[in-house]
Symmetry: C2
């Protein structure tokens, strides 16, 4: 098949590497540097423009979520009847609402591969990024069955676990907790420690693997993450309020030397290891 990938960053580039094993990959990216790098790295066969997408069998929308929804409308206008279009953004409600009444709504699938690293751009593209990862598919009932089967066949070699969550709003609420909140907690941890480091030099000499793990997501791209956090702000603010309230309670327990409460809080939170199954 001919597959066009719009947005040649971490996710788009990594999909290009996987799909490129069995298909012809065409790239679209309005960043000239990214175009050059994608060609040089062999992620894509050719750089094309939006005008050429009517010849494609599949279009992947892998641009930041503040651009993805309008771009998807544009793409749906341009494609032929048999083309599959799917996005890979971290928010699903805005894009699903945007395409809701488009005559080619049935050609579109809203997906969210839960895969990534803290790096970005074509250089961040890696093979096996998606292996055994979850891929969430929303509003599957609004998609043509043939297109859904095309996507499932296309994804098969990637060995992902497909999870169907019909409601885009439910997706956004849940993902606020298990992904977006983690990013904020990590960004703010990095910020707090960088601030104190200005006065207390060499503090990072003392940092171990625990700090590195907790702060890993603070390396994530502002270009990707600013629009995600803003687009999902309703759910994120709820989760953030609960997080801040838990931190304030914990602070009080520390202040009051409530050793039993602290012990029990930590102990019951250890349950996370069972939930994450490792």
């Amino acid at each position: 098949m001919k597959i066009a990938i719009i947005g040649l960053g971490l996710i788009g580039g990594s999909l290009a590497l996987e799909f490129g094993k069995n298909h012809s990959i065409y790239g679209i990216d309005n960043n000239l540097e990214h175009q050059k790098k994608a060609l040089k790295l062999g992620l894509v066969k050719e750089i094309i423009s939006l005008d050429n997408i009517s010849k494609m069998d599949v279009i992947v929308i892998a641009v930041p979520v503040n651009i993805a929804h309008k771009l998807t409308l544009q793409v749906l206008d341009l494609i032929n009847e048999d083309t599959l279009v799917f996005d890979v953004g971290s928010t699903k409600e805005v894009i699903c609402t945007e395409v809701e009444n488009h005559p080619k709504r049935k050609n579109f699938i809203a997906t969210h591969p839960i895969a990534g690293t803290e790096f970005s751009g074509p250089n961040a593209a890696i093979t096996n990024l998606f292996t055994k990862k979850v891929n969430i598919i929303c509003e599957q009932n609004l998609t043509d069955k043939k297109q859904l089967e095309k996507l499932i066949t296309l994804l098969k070699p990637l060995n992902m676990r497909l999870v169907f969550i019909n409601s885009a709003a439910q997706h956004d609420k849940h993902i606020a907790y298990v992904s977006h909140l983690s990013h904020i907690s990590s960004f703010m941890l990095g910020k707090t420690v960088l601030e104190i480091e200005k006065e207390e030099k060499n503090i990072f000499n003392m940092a171990g693997s625990g700090f590195a793990s907790t702060v890993r997501l603070a390396k994530s791209s502002p270009k990707t993450w600013t629009p995600i956090l803003l687009q999902n702000k309703k759910h994120i603010i709820n989760s953030l309020d609960e997080y801040i309230s838990n931190l304030q309670d914990f602070r009080k327990q520390l202040q009051n030397n409530s050793d039993k409460e602290i012990f029990n809080t930590i102990k019951s939170t250890n349950h996370i290891s069972k939930v994450l199954k490792n």
Copy 2:
């Protein structure tokens, strides 16, 4: 040399594995299960009681920090003139103050290996836990030079990077930011997500490696961490207040759709990757 390790958990057990390559290791632990496991796993040659430690060349204090300081006094009372005693706790001010006026202060070294995992107990003991990790040594001037050299020789095969921070109070202040605060941010993230999961089942289906990384420390032992957090509460509360304040500012920026501010906050926090050199 004959080395007694008091406390056969993650750190004590892992030190037993390393030191055991060149020395005879004796274990002390008031938990019968830990005694049995340590023997079964071959971490120690023999379980002994405190009464026997006068025959030892080195004593390692690897018990939770709420017990370590008093135990160190007891140990210093019992040892002979040539014995080296060192602790491995995550707080240094309380223990250093406790031993300050002991006639055998010169036999003691306050150390803090910045190494660990989220697991605990003798089963958590692993080889190479300390390889290339930092080991902080406080108040080195108050220790006999011969004992300091003995420790350096003993640690040599572990290939650690020794960092000397004279002031125990400085150590505790800095470590609040780069270790203790990370643990709290992770515990509270785990707590917040577990709470919402009670109402929203299967939320963990959607969790990826980013969440797993940020919440990894939430698996840490309450027995180890409750006393650490309480003992260093003065510095931790300061760091926690700065963290909460940063989270509240970020919440405001989200509420106000301040995309430029959010972008710049994330971008400047990305600097953490240079600081952590990866």
